[in-house]
């Protein structure tokens, strides 16, 4: 009995071990978690929903990169798509929606903050490119372009063979995901009215949905083997090449597009929360605005 428990436990533990250990991923994840925890304590805040979302997002990224999920992701197109869904859509979504910037900043040791991070953030070398890639339409374009780029069959072929290219692909997905969802949930240009802020971001979420649907549907419905590399390198799931392709296409198509809907819902809820204040302002200014709206007619009469 005890032996059986031990057997299952050891097998479970083996699943949690990385296929290819990456110190970078481990250090980045541990450091972010530690900064967040320290930030919460220093702000005197008790972990709430946002901490949970941040934690789940961070752990999900770690899990798809540094457990046996990665092994299956390398040899199964379907799992590879799930891995990228987490890396590009779900993990970064959860992290960005939790708005962790103030907590992480509070978690930074003072010396590092004032000598390293603040000057970096303020330097135009960082600021200008950051501002450009955080333009809603630029970020939206990059978000879709990176998916298309790595799914181009010949590029995909080499990405699955070359270890540096494979790591670049995964890091790129995670970083681009963070930038995109950060733009959706956290960035507002100074002086930008609420209507434009929420409206433009919802429009971008809406627009990025279609190219993903087209690509996912194309992969899922295609009857030829688009990604021959999986057949060459040995399959690990009891699925045929085309079955994998259908499932992988569906993952690219449906849950990916659903994340846009979910993001739009979050924005809508936040917008509604902001609205009552602007609505009350409207009531106060009701008297003033009415004549203003009638102004053109009056001016017409005068002329």
């Amino acid at each position: 009995m005890l032996e059986l428990v031990y057997h299952h436990l050891s097998r479970g533990a083996a699943c949690l071990l990385p296929y290819e250990f990456s110190p970078t991923v481990l250090v980045v994840c541990l450091l972010s978690g530690w900064l967040y925890y320290r930030g919460l304590r220093r702000l005197g805040r008790r972990p709430g929903w946002d901490a949970l979302l941040f934690g789940v997002g961070l752990v999900s990224i770690y899990v798809v990169l540094q457990t046996q999920v990665d092994y299956y992701g390398r040899f199964s197109f379907f799992i590879h798509r799930v891995q990228h869904l987490v890396l590009h859509h779900i993990g970064p979504f959860l992290i960005a929606v939790s708005a962790p910037a103030p907590v992480l900043a509070a978690g930074l040791p003072k010396a590092i903050r004032s000598h390293v991070v603040d000057p970096l953030v303020r330097s135009p070398l960082i600021r200008t490119p950051f501002r450009v890639i955080q333009q809603p339409f630029v970020a939206g374009f990059l978000f879709v372009a990176i998916i298309y780029f790595w799914l181009e069959p010949s590029i995909h072929f080499y990405a699955m063979l070359s270890i540096p290219l494979y790591n670049t692909m995964n890091w790129g997905m995670a970083i681009d995901g963070l930038l995109f969802w950060w733009m959706i949930f956290n960035l507002r240009q100074p002086g930008e009215p609420d209507v434009r802020h929420y409206g433009v971001r919802m429009l971008v979420l809406f627009l990025v949905m279609f190219p993903q649907i087209v690509l996912g549907a194309f992969i899922a419905l295609s009857t030829t083997d688009l990604y021959s590399i999986y057949n060459l390198c040995g399959r690990v799931l009891p699925l045929s090449v085309l079955q994998e392709q259908v499932l992988g296409g569906l993952v690219t198509w449906i849950p990916a597009a659903m994340m846009s809907v979910l993001g739009a819902l979050v924005l809508l809820v936040r917008w509604m929360r902001v609205m009552p204040t602007s609505a009350s302002e409207d009531i106060n200014s009701f008297q003033d605005r009415w004549p203003a709206a009638n102004l053109p007619r009056d001016s017409l009469k005068i002329s």
């Binding site: 290819e20 092994y71 063979l161 021959s228 060459l232 040995g234």
Partner: protein
């Protein structure tokens, strides 16, 4: 404004020659030198690590990837109980070795069994000899096999029945053949669609490149 103009012009003066140099060098790289080789297989130069492994050959001798420097190496993973893909592949390779004639001496086919449970060196020896005397069977411990398969991005797994030697179990494995040049660099990836004639043509070209003037 004046100052800005000066600065921009100064910047342009710096960038223009840099750009020109870049374009010229790109053109030179593109047009100069040898015409790019045409392969039937997929070119994987620079994509994968040089030939490296620690395994046991079919004479029960420990060998490493370095032992095969100086030959064009074809690396293929399989198992001797394989019902279809492995015999077909090895037959194709044997055919192209035969077609190479004397040049076949410069080629070494390495058949790595990922089923050491059933494929002892003796079993492997009998098996590869059947296809061609030029072939060598290799296998190793699970950790040695995991190491080499991970390096060449291939996977293998066992079907129902493993590790019982009395029942027949399937081993899922890769279908690709890697070709390394005599320096041990990974150069080509041959897939299952390629005929033995195409493989022969690629091997001839690889030999001609590796031993120019022969």
């Amino acid at each position: 404004m004046q100052l800005n103009g000066v600065r921009i012009r100064a910047g342009a003066r710096m960038i223009a020659p840099a750009l020109t140099t870049l374009i010229i060098s790109l053109v030179l790289v593109g047009c100069g030198g040898k015409a790019p080789a045409k392969w039937n297989a997929t070119d994987i130069s620079g994509v994968m690590e040089p030939l490296t492994f620690n395994l046991t050959d079919d004479h029960d001798k420990s060998v490493t990837g370095k032992d095969y420097r100086g030959k064009v190496v074809m690396l293929y993973f399989g198992y001797t109980f394989c019902p279809d893909v492995c015999p077909q592949t090895l037959t194709r390779l044997a055919t192209s070795l035969k077609a190479l004639g004397k040049q076949a001496e410069k080629v070494q086919v390495l058949f790595v069994s990922v089923d050491p449970n059933r494929d002892t060196p003796q079993v492997l020896r009998e098996y590869v000899k059947y296809f061609s005397p030029q072939m060598l069977g290799l296998t190793g411990t699970q950790s040695e096999l995991k190491d080499v398969t991970k390096r060449y991005r291939v996977a293998y797994s066992y079907g129902k029945g493993y590790p019982d030697k009395k029942t027949f179990y399937v081993v899922n494995h890769s279908a690709s053949i890697y070709i390394f040049d005599p320096k041990g660099n990974a150069r080509l990836l041959v897939d299952q669609q390629e005929t033995s004639e195409q493989i022969t043509a690629d091997l001839k070209q690889m030999i001609a490149q590796s031993w120019p003037g022969q």
